[in-house]
């Protein structure tokens, strides 16, 4: 009896340890899905390009697109996906365990320079170039952006003749749903007042990052405007109207290749610039929708199909 209990305890402890080992530590690059076996190589010209990604679908798809496009032009490339947060993968880029990363201009700028104020795409890119560490460089940003965006239903847009955030001014009793930080951040309620002169907004904080509860609040008419990330498939699935932002209240978040300088070459630039030229916000939306579709394809397969469709592989 005692022995049985001892064995059961040992088995339970063993199982717990195994499970714990499976959980990945986001700060530890070695825990990422290494498909290259090259994580120990410290880079340098001529060595293969290792494309990293953060641990969310869109980043993985973009990394696979970069790697696929490079390979199609005969450049040796592999991927190292799922490297957690920015602190972790910027470190990995600096120490050379990865050499290329699909980044977003605005967020990278804020990470490197928390006091940055630029919001327009060109201004953000210029500030970012100045803020980058010496070992890293960015190529030409794509027009694709994944950022906060204000959305209304098609019916609301038609009824109030709204296409841009500026058109919201003067609508009585306007209500808006977003993450709680929207209430205090410069791109949120304070910005809407200062930049667009929209006052008296009834704000509802919903903490799901523009997810299903926010969407439901918008489509059920509980709120007029909802903050949803611009590449979320629910925007197209529900025929939402994303409001234009002529005053650049919300900082640009263009997808841009972030590259180690010792891997930079005219051939690499040519390939990645060709990818960026084809990459639009709509393309990201379609890629995300496909990736989250019912048949749950792999990021690599979604990327390969896109490269083929766009004549890049």
């Amino acid at each position: 009896m005692k022995l049985t209990r001892l064995l059961a305890t040992a088995a339970a402890v063993g199982l717990t340890l195994t499970l714990a080992a499976c959980g990945s530590d986001p700060t530890n690059i070695a825990s990422g899905k290494d498909t290259s076996g090259a994580s120990s190589s410290s880079g340098g010209a001529g060595s293969p390009i290792v494309v990293g990604s953060a641990s969310f679908g869109e980043s993985e798809i973009l990394a696979e697109i970069y790697a696929g496009a490079l390979k199609a032009k005969g450049i040796d490339a592999s991927t190292h996906l799922d490297i957690g947060q920015r602190e972790a993968y910027i470190g990995a880029l600096k120490d050379g365990s990865i050499s290329l990363f699909p980044e977003y201009t605005g967020n990278l700028l804020t990470f490197l320079d928390p006091k940055a104020t630029a919001t327009a795409p060109d201004a953000v890119t210029a500030a970012l170039k100045a803020a980058l560490p010496d070992s890293l460089t960015i190529l030409t940003p794509s027009s694709a952006e994944d950022k906060d965006s204000l959305n209304v239903t098609a019916a609301f847009a038609a009824k109030n003749n709204v296409h841009s955030i500026a058109d919201l001014k003067g609508i009585k009793g306007l209500s808006l749903a977003a993450n709680p930080e929207f209430k205090t951040r410069s791109y949120g309620i304070p910005g809407l007042e200062k930049v667009y002169g929209i006052t008296g907004i009834k704000f509802t904080a919903i903490s799901d990052g523009g997810g299903p509860a926010t969407l439901k609040a918008l489509t059920s008419g509980k709120v007029d405007v909802a903050d949803i990330y611009s590449t979320t498939p629910s925007i197209t699935q529900n025929h939402l109207v994303t409001l234009e932002d002529p005053q650049h209240l919300i900082a640009a978040q263009n997808v841009v290749p972030l590259l180690r300088k010792d891997h930079d070459s005219p051939q690499v630039d040519e390939v990645l610039n060709a990818v960026s030229a084809k990459l639009t916000t709509q393309a990201l939306l379609d890629l995300n929708a496909k990736f989250n579709g019912p048949d749950k394809p792999k990021a690599a397969d979604v990327a390969a199909q896109w490269l083929k469709d766009n004549g890049l592989a």
Binding site: P180, A205, I206, S207, D208, P212, A213, S220
Partner: protein, 217 residues
């Protein structure tokens, strides 16, 4: 400054003690959600629990049901109800009622079961009707356990009502969720402290009530 002293400063800052975002208003909202939830849950669980305890019927079902309800994650349930009903007071109330029913139900039927069968038989022998047996013998004798169930339900609801802020309502959860959103951890800790203090005060009040109930016998 450590996060603890920063939270203490946040807590005693006069600016946080008035207005819609101030503690008095948030505490009132929080207690309002708690009272509404416990009232609805009591209206459902107490009659059901008393009936089960009195008749002994469906006891197996009640035990299984309360166990299953206890296992439901409240935040997950909230999201589910939001997708069905949209945002508003309804979803958090429903999620919290589901949380409050198991302890209330268990307190009621277990309380009645704890009454000595000989006492009940004696009550019937002196000619009491079933309603009289329930109202004059069973419920008074079961009251400490019924109150124990209520105490447990109130404590769980007051500690969990913070989820109302997840979908934009008020209550003390606002400090937790707004604080986390902008990494203002002193605010989060201050809000959490008030929730703990509120829960302890309510629990203490129930403890006093339960004690006076058992000494007045």
């Amino acid at each position: 400054m450590s996060i603890y002293s920063a939270a203490a400063h946040w807590l005693v800052d006069g600016a946080h003690w008035h207005g819609d975002d101030g503690f008095p208003h948030r505490i009132a909202q929080h207690l309002g959600y708690t009272a509404l939830t416990v009232a609805i849950a009591s209206a459902i669980a107490l009659p059901l629990g008393l009936w089960i305890g009195h008749t002994g019927r469906l006891r197996g079902l009640a035990v299984g049901l309360t166990g299953a309800l206890r296992a439901l994650p409240t935040l997950g349930l909230l999201t589910l109800v939001v997708l069905w009903r949209g945002i508003g007071l309804g979803p958090p109330t429903i999620a919290l009622v589901v949380l409050a029913i198991p302890p209330l139900l268990a307190g009621a039927y277990a309380g009645l079961e704890s009454v000595d069968r000989a006492t009940i038989d004696a009550a019937r022998a002196v000619g009491m009707t079933e309603w009289q047996v329930l109202g004059r013998v069973e419920i008074p004798l079961a009251l400490p356990l019924i109150l124990g169930g209520l105490r447990s339900a109130v404590l769980q609801v007051v500690a969990t009502a913070t989820i109302a802020a997840y979908i934009g309502l008020g209550g003390l959860g606002r400090y937790l969720i707004d604080g986390i959103a902008v990494r203002d951890y002193p605010q989060t800790l201050a809000g959490a402290t008030v929730v703990v203090v509120l829960a302890l005060i309510l629990d203490g009040a129930f403890a006093v009530a339960q004690r006076s109930l058992s000494t007045h016998r």
